[in-house]
Amino acid sequence: MSCLILGYVLGLALIGGYVAMLVRRLLTLEAEVGERRDPSR
């Protein structure tokens, strides 16, 4: 059971990390080219 949990945690962490990076990049670029207001401002 612990291997099953470790396997899915690893797999989902990889996908989740990549999704987080993509979303951040997308929001930053949209703010930079003026398609969306920069949420940090």
Partner: protein, 241 residues
């Protein structure tokens, strides 16, 4: 998706569909599918492990097609699509390898330092090829030169996909043979096959969403570059006048 990329609305729709499909797939994997009598719960790794490989092969197929179309027609959209699919394919390869290693340890008592496995080695090589593809894109002379070089790597790199797929029949090593595509039909109970197919749909939806998001990032980055170039040109002309 047009050459300008998916609209934010389409991207949001894809993301919501992916989340819903992932929730259904999680139910199928952990609740609906029966526990394997021989391997126990760890066999449930199979559903994401295999589908990550399927998604990676499809992404590398997209890189191949995009690269061929770019070299043949000079289509910037095709180059952008190849550029968007490569990192997602690499991500899915990493998911496939890491989950496979965790699964192999209790079942084969596997130590990659001591036991050679053809499927594992060819998959690692596949990952290395596409990591190389991304390095070419990152470090080669920007513009056409980098796109052409990367397209050549994208075309020749694809040759490792069939090698990886057929490795279980060409070399008899530890990795099991074909399960879903076994010659006499799927070697799985019906419930496991249904759970597998539902997970396939979910993983392919997630992959499509990631490629679409990556494509939009490429479009926006190009737009930003053009804008910066225009601004610096207008600054130079203002200085001259």
């Amino acid at each position: 998706m047009t050459s300008a990329g998916p609209s934010p609305r389409a991207l949001r729709g894809l993301a919501v569909a992916s989340l819903l499909a992932a929730a259904v797939a999680a139910y199928m994997i952990f609740v609906y599918a029966p526990t394997d009598l021989l391997q126990g719960p760890v066999q449930r790794i199979f559903y994401l492990h295999v589908n990550a490989a399927v998604a990676a092969y499809i992404c590398f197929g997209v890189v191949l097609v995009g690269s061929v179309v770019y070299l043949w027609r000079g289509s910037l959209a095709a180059d952008r699509l190849a550029r968007a699919a490569a990192p997602v394919g690499l991500l899915m390869t990493a998911v496939n390898i890491s989950m496979g290693m965790v699964w192999a340890k209790p079942i084969w008592n596997w130590d990659p330092h001591h036991t050679w496995d053809a499927r594992f080695t060819s998959t690692v090589v596949l990952g290395a090829i596409y990591a190389g593809y991304l390095l070419v894109r990152r470090f080669a002379e920007p513009g056409r030169q980098s796109a052409r070089l990367a397209a050549v790597v994208g075309i020749f790199g694809f040759f490792d996909v069939p090698v990886t797929y057929f490795s279980v029949s060409w070399w008899r090593t530890l990795h099991p043979g074909y399960v879903v595509t076994a010659p006499g039909g799927p070697a799985l109970p019906a419930e496991m096959l249904v759970a597998f197919l539902v997970t396939t749909v979910a993983v392919l939806l997630i992959t499509a969403t990631l490629v679409a998001a990556r494509y939009r990032i490429e479009v926006l980055a190009e737009r930003r570059e053009r804008r910066q170039l225009r601004e610096s040109l207008s600054l130079v002309s203002a200085e001259l006048l």
